[in-house]
Symmetry: C2
Subunit: 622 residues, 2 copies
């Protein structure tokens, strides 16, 4: 550890600022990266060049571990903290280890939640950078998204004002097609050597995108919790200020561009995915893409550095990638494909610990069926984080609400509640086993948990088929607190595994959704609302039916209803609509209303954040 | 030079990409900066720590040179290019030299204008980084601005829903005032040990900002040319989505936060300026600040890294700071105070070349009266960039419009037009001399300029009182092309100077504006519209009358009317309104309508920008 463990445990930022960080140059050198392989961002952060993948392609892969959780309380059960703690313990045991986690959004950092770099003695450092700009990737995502948004409204305005012939001379100077225009010509089935050779009909189809303003699904984004821009009317003013239309802003991390950055496996793949982004349709219903707008190249330019994973360190001083932060409902909620692809080579001979968002029903399922499919990597072990607190909630305990003190039921021994709730753990273990991967349960210990309670969880985990189950105290004790967990994980990684996806891609969309609903969520079936039924047809016709499914569902229940705790049964999963992220490469059925722009509470945490003017250090970040 | 000069001159990006960049570590070492003084951003960019100022405080200042221009055509007359060329030539002559320029906005990079890193063989490199994210400073400005904007609408919403007592328990947990709250208590003249001790009246005044939604002047920002968000209605949806109101988005660089970053001379100064930002008034007309909202600390945290100047290099391989990009009309249009303060020490014994935006009537006047006042630095020489093209325009030549080929009058010898237009040059030379600083005129040569034309400009410059006047060919020839200019500048810097501000700060607002209008713009007087007259009183009452004046005026004429070329006379300058940037620290009278959000043209330059997937290099950036 690069920090001394103290008791009582200081605040996260105090621990992080007390750590003696290793120069990132040395952290990089540990895993075979030279200074030519990285771009420094100060002394303690770096971006890793993608071409190391080529150089290291013959290295054997590290063992690949996904950290997930049972169905959490609204407080979260310590997944990132456990991810860091497990990594630190593997390092303590002398193993080569690398960690991959998501970058948080600045919105929650200043809103309700505060930071997300782990906690206590299990953290990624420097935690201020982690929770703030880091290396600017989220800003790059916002810039790319908003360039595309501006391009849409500008195009509508300019098409309104010009004839086909005038548009041709403006958009095709020197009677030449720009390189990206050939993709549109091909899509439209038009063959022409020069723009001037197009027939009037073909010119009209080619030069005019004819975007239907009511069809536009691309929102603008900001990386702030700003509820006031959820629903806006833009284009007011004069005729030169565009045409009025209603639209909205999402938080940057909810954008498809962020999901694309997470899914891309190379610069070429990134360029193609960006080009495929559908922003809406023309007035005949045909999809209009970023490529059609001529914006995909510039967007890729804005994103090219953001595609390189960000190297930081755990409190062990070992390497960690912090990369991409897509939502876990409308997007896969995992750190990037490219970070895992590189990390698994950097940790060759050892362990790559990665984290997936929300509980196993969502984050882990998407990790397997979407992320592993994109990366081609096969996991060796799943760690499911469980807490006595959450299991008591699933057993019928009082409501857990962020910002309100916990009920006494959670602070004193209550084996009855716990026993009733333990079915949720068993269900989650079962999900991982369906994919053929050994499971280790990490019981993230809180100080009020009793020995009997902890033992009950361990016993239940093994009874449900977990390969191992260990109590872990990494939050308060750091690496030493997670040694038993790490040893169980090491052993689990040596077990034979039989990895399989939950569904094949060439299955009809409807069946893919039904498999997830019945096999994972425990539903009897799926109710497709009329809008969703229309989309089943539309996306099949558009050829999007070979895409994987990214369920947009609450993480607070295995079902679609956040109030249903434990293991809900005897219900039908309602799918009210289905959307496509054609660029990122998945369909996302909506099981409820997904909020894509949080709001600020009455007392946002930004009110405590400031700079110490003597030291220049950040204070009040939690 | 770190690149070989070729003829014909290749495109800017080809020259930039052909350059053999020196590692920024070496560039830093040349001026006495160790690796502990800088934070690397890759191999060719770094941020310089502010504490070098303390260490270098006893070093003598370098000679301080401001590069400005005559009243330009809409195409620009090559000020940045001349700044780079002059620096490169000083370096060629064996002098220690450092360059400070502004960072451009990404909006124009993808819109009409393209890049702004200089041009030809006089550039800052790497030019892709220069024109794109660089180190993320503009993104940080946007994040800070938009956090404040979200805080405003959230506060209005939450105040609407809560009683004074409830607001007190929420905003002052544990019956404690947050540190920043004491500034508000002091402002309100309230003394209280604890929140619970406030009288109902004092609590009401303290806890409720009571923001008047119609008074809010703070816009949200994006760094994209997006005309569709100039005028918007936000807060639509349900009651939990905020309250509807009309507002707008500016381009990020037009924000007061960007101006604050430019003006700040230390982290402490930055924190104070951010806190003083006025976002609007309460319903009684009292100013509401970022400090009142409790957002100033978090905003400073977002900006603290952005305050460090960005070190890059010229095509000489010598150091250059690229830092901050405030507008030149509603803001001072100069690179940062802090970059010049550090640069003048780094170039000790040599020369610091800095650039101010627009022509001498605006950028240079603000450089002297606003920037030099904030930094305490005294310039030694002003370089005025002139072109035969622009002077012909001032002599009555045909209209010059971006994107439309130049009239023949500009491509062939026309001494008559030139002679008529030369008064504009003489006027600009006169402005610099009013400040007591020697002037060198740089005639930025275009290939169609004839010897007679160039000689006429040189002669006229000297007749108007310029210390020197030289033809410069840095664009096509690099450092060697600007040797004569550099030699003249070296000599000018040895001349005695008698620097004085145009006006003292304690003069009434009205008189300060009148002095600028009559002494610089050549007006007979000023017409203050009723709104402006009201502001004269208001700002005097608010104590803002000691601030310097930042005129918001077109750069295309010495007057307020862009169509009036040459040296307009016999007119009165209309001031339609006056605004305050209380945080940045200036008043800006509006002489016309200032656009703070550009739009995208019919064929934006982003359509040519892409990534070469083989090399990973940017193509099409110009």
């Amino acid at each position: 550890m690069i920090v001394d463990v103290k008791s009582p445990v200081p605040s996260d930022i105090e621990i992080a600022q007390a750590a003696k960080l290793r120069p990132i140059r040395e952290v990089a050198a540990d895993v075979g990266l030279s200074e030519d392989d990285i771009d420094f961002f100060g002394k303690y952060k770096a971006k890793v060049h993608l071409d190391v993948l080529k150089r290291m392609k013959d290295r054997p892969n590290a063992k690949y571990i996904d950290v997930t959780a049972i169905t959490p309380t609204p407080l979260g059960e310590g997944k990132t903290t456990t991810t860091c703690g497990l990594s630190q313990a593997l390092h303590y045991l002398g193993k080569t280890v690398f960690t991959c986690i998501r970058q948080p959004s600045q919105g929650p950092t200043f809103g309700i939640k505060g930071g997300a770099a782990g906690g206590g003695y299990s953290q990624i450092v420097p935690m201020e950078d982690f929770n703030l700009h880091l290396t600017g990737d989220t800003h790059a995502v916002g810039a790319a998204n908003n360039l595309l948004a501006a391009a849409i409204d500008a195009r509508i305005l300019h098409e309104d004002r010009r004839s086909d012939a005038r548009l041709r001379t403006i958009l095709c100077p020197n009677d030449t097609f720009a390189p990206w225009m050939y993709k549109r010509l091909e899509k439209l089935g038009i063959k022409a050597g020069k723009p001037s050779e197009l027939s009037p009909e073909d010119l009209h189809r080619f030069i005019r995108l004819d975007i239907d303003p009511y069809s536009i699904t691309l929102n603008r984004v900001v990386d702030v919790n700003d509820r006031a821009v959820r629903n806006v009317v833009i284009g007011l003013g004069t005729s030169s200020d565009g045409r009025p239309r209603q639209t909205g802003f999402d938080i940057t991390v909810a954008s498809e561009v962020m999901a694309i950055l997470m899914m891309a496996s190379s610069l070429k793949d990134l360029r193609e995915r960006v080009g495929r982004m559908v922003i809406g349709t023309d007035k005949k219903g045909n999809a209009v893409t970023a490529e059609d707008l001529g914006a995909a190249g510039a967007m890729t330019v804005l994103l090219k550095d953001a595609l390189m994973p960000n190297l930081m360190q755990t409190l062990s001083g070992a390497g960690a990638f912090v990369h991409t932060g897509p939502f876990a409902n409308i997007a896969p909620g995992n750190s990037s494909v490219i970070a895992d692809m590189i990390g698994i080579k950097l940790a060759s001979g050892g362990y790559l610990v990665t984290e997936s968002g929300f509980g196993a029903d969502i984050g882990m399922e998407k990790f397997f069926d979407i992320k592993c499919r994109a990366s081609g990597l096969i996991p060796n072990c799943v760690v499911i984080v469980a807490t006595v607190r959450a299991l008591k909630m699933h057993g019928g305990g009082p409501k857990v609400v962020a910002g309100i003190p916990l009920d006494a039921a959670y602070m004193t021994e209550n084996l009855e509640l716990l026993e009733k709730g333990i079915a949720n753990l068993a269900a989650n273990i079962g999900f991982a086993k369906k994919f053929g991967i050994p499971v280790v349960v990490a019981v993230n210990r809180f100080k009020t948990d009793t020995k009997k309670e902890l033992q009950m969880v361990k016993d239940a985990a093994k009874a449900a088929g977990a390969f191992g189950a260990e109590v872990s105290e990494h939050w308060g004790r750091g690496e030493e607190g997670a040694v038993a967990l790490a040893e169980a994980v090491i052993e689990a990684c040596e077990q034979p595994s039989d990895f399989k996806f939950l569904y094949p891609l060439d299955m009809p969309i409807k069946e893919k959704i039904e498999i997830i609903a019945t096999q994972i969520y425990g539903a009897d079936g799926v109710d497709f609302a009329p809008a969703a039924q229309d989309k089943l047809k539309l996306y099949t016709n558009l050829g999007f039916d070979k895409l994987p499914i990214c369920m947009a569902k609450t993480h607070l229940s295995l079902s679609h209803d956040p109030a249903w705790k434990g293991v809900p049964k005897d219900y039908s999963l309602p799918v009210r609509d289905i959307r496509a992220s054609a660029g990122a490469g998945f369909l996302y059925p909506l099981c409820g209303t997904m909020r894509t722009m949080p709001g600020l509470p009455s007392r946002p945490v930004f009110m405590d954040i400031d700079v110490d003017l003597e030291t220049g250090k950040v204070v009040g970040l939690s």
